[in-house]
């Protein structure tokens, strides 16, 4: 019914990490909105799936959380990257670029696979 793609399994974590890196400490709602905006509203993110993903990243030590006040003075939980999270983001970003580059080669018009 809807032309928007679902979030692929496994890429949500990478998007979350990248968003937190880009935005600094940010609450869950902010992350969700940001991911939707960045994708140019092409991604349909079920906000409910975001929270277990955040919890998983926190359990793995990639992010840390802290309660704070939102821009309009609401209590909200803010997430930020830990040092391990930064490292992990760098590594996963590299891997992602590599993977997409390889896949992209297959779609170069007239190009032969290496």
């Amino acid at each position: 019914m809807d032309n928007r793609s679902d979030v692929w399994q496994g890429t949500l974590a990478l998007m979350v990490l990248k968003t937190i890196e880009a935005m600094g400490p940010i609450h869950g709602y902010g992350i969700a909105r940001r991911i939707e905006q960045t994708s140019g509203d092409l991604l349909s993110l079920n906000y409910g799936t975001l929270y277990p993903a955040l919890l998983k990243l926190e359990q793995e030590g990639a992010i840390a959380s802290e309660w704070g006040l939102s821009e309009n003075n609401r209590k909200a939980k803010f997430y930020k990257l830990t040092r391990a999270g930064k490292k992990r983001l760098e590594q996963e970003a590299r891997e992602w670029e590599q993977a997409t580059a390889i896949v992209a080669r297959f779609f170069v018009p007239g190009g032969e696979p290496a």
Binding site: H27, Y29, G48, L55, A76, K77
Partner: protein, 882 residues
């Protein structure tokens, strides 16, 4: 690493307090508010904004659930929940719980304890290097499947074979050890040089015997067992090189054996000396006294080795027809040789324990069924409230695990106690020959065994209630209110379980009955002599003092005279072997004037002093007994037993006939002067062999057995008898003082039969008890279900007697089917007990009838209680209750 961390966090999440839950709710709430505010800013009214926000989130509760599941391990969390619930359930029903746990613990304890024995004795009996490559090597003869080797044969076998990496031999002996407190008889073993290398045993201290050290020219050296080193030499390392006086001769101690080294065939051997073949017997090819032990070459099987040894034996028989005719070869794996005799009894006992465990399982299963019945509504309600079928199955599984775990833990503890108790019941003498039982105790095998049983049992118990709980029809439970037809299936299933229980109990009872009867028959077997008021002891004088024939005769005469002179002694005599010992120590006979084709007429040979038959109470059938004049100054004489007379002198009077060795050498010829009635030289459960008796004064020995008929109690006389012997020479060794009755009672044969009878008897009693409880459970349940029916019947005029009949008929039907099925199984199963049954057949009618009656009475008593309750039903109340 990262996964590990995350798992750890999740495990910590289990049972986390409510502040955590609150924090999660807060976060989601704040998310909803942030979203709703945004919608409001876009112009939505607040209620609609909030509704849309929740929609966008994908449902508040749904999100919380996903969050929660990520926070902990749902499976484990549920399990803990189930566990708490099952503890509560079990706690609510202490009667059920205690009964079930007790029965399981009983079953576990019995089977774990027996498994421990089987494990120690059958699975890892030999503390040697690669024990599966070790073989016991024997000669074989017409009457002995496994007999000893002679030293010359051993040397030829060693030289000619291509199947053994090494072949060595040993022979038990005894020494008189000089100690600070005087002379003490001790046990030893003579071994050929490579004996310990063949076993793969390296001395703890000092050195092994060198090659060639066992030749007569070799030095007199000795190796000590570990406990001897500890107890007699204070565990000092300077014992190496010290002189040890054995039989008045100094031996140099060269080595100490490791602590965990044991040699079961002679578990109490203290001193190990090189073989040094010197005696007449050592050098004679027809004197068989050694046991062979060999390490097989890689890839050679016992069967291959045996066939090669047989062909070598055949070659030797051609070469030395006089001594080796008919002497074959036989091999057993060393473990078979050591624990082979133990196997049938242990397996029978393990089977008995297994059956007991089975009954306990069946009983608990039927208890679980009754409970499942009463929990149909609970399950239906839980199902209706949304518990998935899987979740309900898990609940039963958890309850099964809880019951079994508690039962197994209690059973394991009890089993450890039972093992120690059983070990203490084994006589010291028997224990010596089973050193592998010394490290009986908790080990990994036992833990795995327990766990394996526990897993099987848990599966069974989890499955049992499900039989009664077709999960797809849960709502029936709600609708029906749990009465009426619900009971029928259970009654049918429960009845079948009880029949199985009674049948198993029947098998055990029949087994116990037959073993008990065997034991009785064994202990009342005709001995041919009078064992009461008869004392026995072993007396040895050193070779230095009494090794020569005239000295030995002087000693033997002195012993007979001194013992006979005691006031409380009616008569005393000496023999080379006590009765009820073993069928061995044979002589090869040839009878003058009888056709002879080179066969070895094998016959037990005993050297006895005058008065021996009179002392035993054995009956002389014809001729005369030996007199003190039958000595080296007079012609050689012999007395034979009835079996020998019947076999070789059928229809003739043997008195006056002459018998000699296979060549009828003049100096071997003896005149038969008497025939004695058969009495039991060998074990209680073996045939009586032909036996020939020679006068001790014509073939004297410095190692003899005394039998003393006392006027009063033989046991009380033992110290006085010992003192009397010591008074002759304080350097004489006196050991094994006992009474003949005790000897017979504690002989290995009697011991084996007795322990089997008692243990299977114990299992049987427990099994009958459990079976009766099971029957009681089924009948009581059925009466409970039929209370209304009984009320109606009574209201319509049924008498109490009719009600009794109604209930007892049901119980009787189950009992009869159970007993009959049990009888059929008994006959099939018990025929397998083979050697454990003595003069009793598996289909022994009186025994089977007796135990059937016993079980029937037990069943009647068990069903009388519910029958009585049924007959006491007050019809008015029974009807009103509906």
């Amino acid at each position: 690493m990262r996964h590990l961390r995350s798992w750890w966090q999740r495990i910590r999440g289990i049972g986390r307090d409510s502040s955590r839950e609150q924090e999660m709710m807060d976060e989601i709430e704040s998310h909803i508010q942030l979203q709703a505010e945004e919608y409001e800013r876009a112009g939505m009214d607040p209620t609609e904004a909030r509704r849309r926000a929740i929609l966008k989130l994908g449902g508040a509760e749904h999100t919380r659930q996903a969050y929660r599941e990520r926070d902990t391990l749902p499976l484990l969390e549920n399990f803990l929940q189930d566990l708490r619930f099952s503890f509560r359930q079990l706690g609510k029903n202490p009667g059920f719980t205690a009964t079930a746990v007790l029965m399981l613990a009983l079953g576990f304890a019995a089977s774990i304890a027996l498994f421990a024995f089987v494990d120690a004795a059958l699975l890892k009996p030999l503390p040697y290097h690669q024990p599966e490559r070790l073989a016991a090597v024997y000669e074989s003869a017409a009457v002995f499947a496994h007999s000893n080797l002679s030293y010359p044969d051993y040397l030829d076998w060693k030289r000619m074979n291509n199947v053994f990496q090494s072949l060595d031999a040993w022979q038990g002996n005894g020494w008189l050890l000089k100690t600070a407190g005087g002379v003490e008889p001790v046990r030893g073993i003579r071994v050929t040089d490579g004996f310990f290398r063949t076993l793969g045993v390296v001395p703890l201290l000092g050195r092994d015997f060198h090659q060639g050290e066992d030749l007569p020219s070799g030095p007199r050296t000795v190796m000590l067992s570990y406990s001897t080193w500890q107890h007699r030499f204070g565990g000092r390392s300077d014992v190496i090189g010290q002189a040890v006086s054995l039989g008045g001769v100094p031996f140099t101690a060269v080595g100490v054996l490791p602590k965990d080294f044991t040699f079961a065939p002679r578990g109490d051997a203290e001193f190990w000396t090189p073989f040094h073949a010197e005696s007449e017997c050592d050098l004679r090819r027809s004197c068989h006294g050694m046991y062979g032990v060999a390490r097989l070459k890689d890839g050679v099987t016992i069967a291959q080795a045996e066939s090669e040894m047989k062909s070598i034996a055949a070659e030797l028989a051609r070469q030395y027809p006089g001594s080796n005719r008919g002497q074959g070869a036989a091999l057993l794996s060393l473990s078979e040789a050591i624990v082979g005799d133990l196997r049938p009894i242990l397996l029978v006992l393990l089977a008995g324990a297994g059956l007991l465990l089975l009954i306990a399982c069946v009983n608990v299963s039927s208890l679980l069924l009754v409970r499942a019945e009463s929990r149909r509504r609970e399950m239906a309600v839980r199902g209706a409230l949304g518990a998935s079928p899987l979740r309900l199955v898990r609940q039963f599984l958890t309850e099964g695990i809880t019951l079994v775990t508690i039962g197994a833990a209690l059973g394991l503890c009890a089993a450890l106690g039972v093992m120690q108790a059983l070990l203490r019941l084994i006589p010291k003498q028997m224990m010596m020959s089973m050193p592998f039982l010394n490290n009986l105790g908790l080990n990994l095998h036992i833990v795995f065994f327990t766990m394996a049983i526990a897993v099987l049992m848990t599966a069974l118990f989890a499955a049992t209630p499900l039989v009664r709980m077709p999960l797809h029809a849960l709502h029936d439970g709600l609708a029906e209110g749990g009465r009426g037809a619900a009971g029928t299936l259970w009654r049918r299933l429960g009845s079948n379980l009880v029949i199985a229980e009674l049948a198993i109990a029947m098998v055990l009872l029949a087994g116990a009955g037959l073993l008990g009867k065997s034991l009785y028959r064994l202990l009342h077997v005709d001995l041919g002599f009078e064992p009461n008021q008869l004392a026995a002891m072993t007396i040895s004088g050193s070779d230095v003092a009494y090794g020569k024939s005239p000295d030995a005769i002087r000693l033997d005469r002195e012993l007979v005279d001194r013992l006979n002179s005691l006031a409380a002694v009616e008569s005393a005599a000496l023999t080379s072997n006590l009765p009820v010992s073993f069928n061995g120590n044979t002589d090869w006979l040839r009878f003058e004037g009888k056709p002879y084709h080179g066969e070895h007429n094998e016959s037990l040979e005993r050297d006895i002093s005058p008065g021996y038959f009179k002392t035993l109470g054995a009956k002389l059938l014809s001729g005369r007994p030996f007199t003190p004049d039958d000595n080296t100054n007079h012609p050689k004489v012999a007395i034979i037993n009835k079996t020998l007379a019947r076999k070789y002198f059928p229809g003739e009077d043997p008195v006056g006939k002459r018998v000699g060795n296979l060549d009828l050498k003049p100096d071997s010829m003896k005149t038969i002067v008497g025939v004695v009635d058969d009495f039991r030289e060998g074990p209680l459960d073996e045939e009586i062999w032909p036996a020939i008796y020679y006068p001790l004064y014509q073939s004297p020995d410095n190692y003899v057995q005394a039998v003393v008929r006392t006027r009063g109690s033989a046991e009380d006389m033992l110290p006085e008898l010992t003192a009397a012997v010591r008074a002759i020479d304080r350097d004489l060794g006196v050991t094994d003082q006992t009474t003949m009755s005790l000897r017979i009672h504690e002989s290995p044969t009697a011991y084996m039969h007795r322990s089997a009878a008692w243990m299977v008897g114990g299992f049987a009693v427990l099994a009958a008890l459990l079976g009766a409880i099971g029957l009681y459970g089924v009948i009581a349940y059925s009466v409970g279900q039929r209370t209304r029916e009984i009320g109606v019947r009574m209201a319509l005029g049924a008498q109490r007697g009719t009600i009794y009949g109604l209930v007892l008929k049901e119980a009787g039907r189950l009992t009869v089917i159970g007993v009959v099925a049990g009888l059929a199984c008994s006959i099939a199963v018990l025929s397998l007990m083979g050697k454990l049954l003595f003069q009793v057949k598996a289909w022994d009618m009186p025994t089977l009838a007796g135990v059937s009656l016993l079980l029937g009475v037990a069943a009647l008593v068990a069903s009388y209680v519910p029958a009585h309750r049924a007959a006491s039903v007050n019809p008015v109340e029974a009807l009103r209750a509906e």
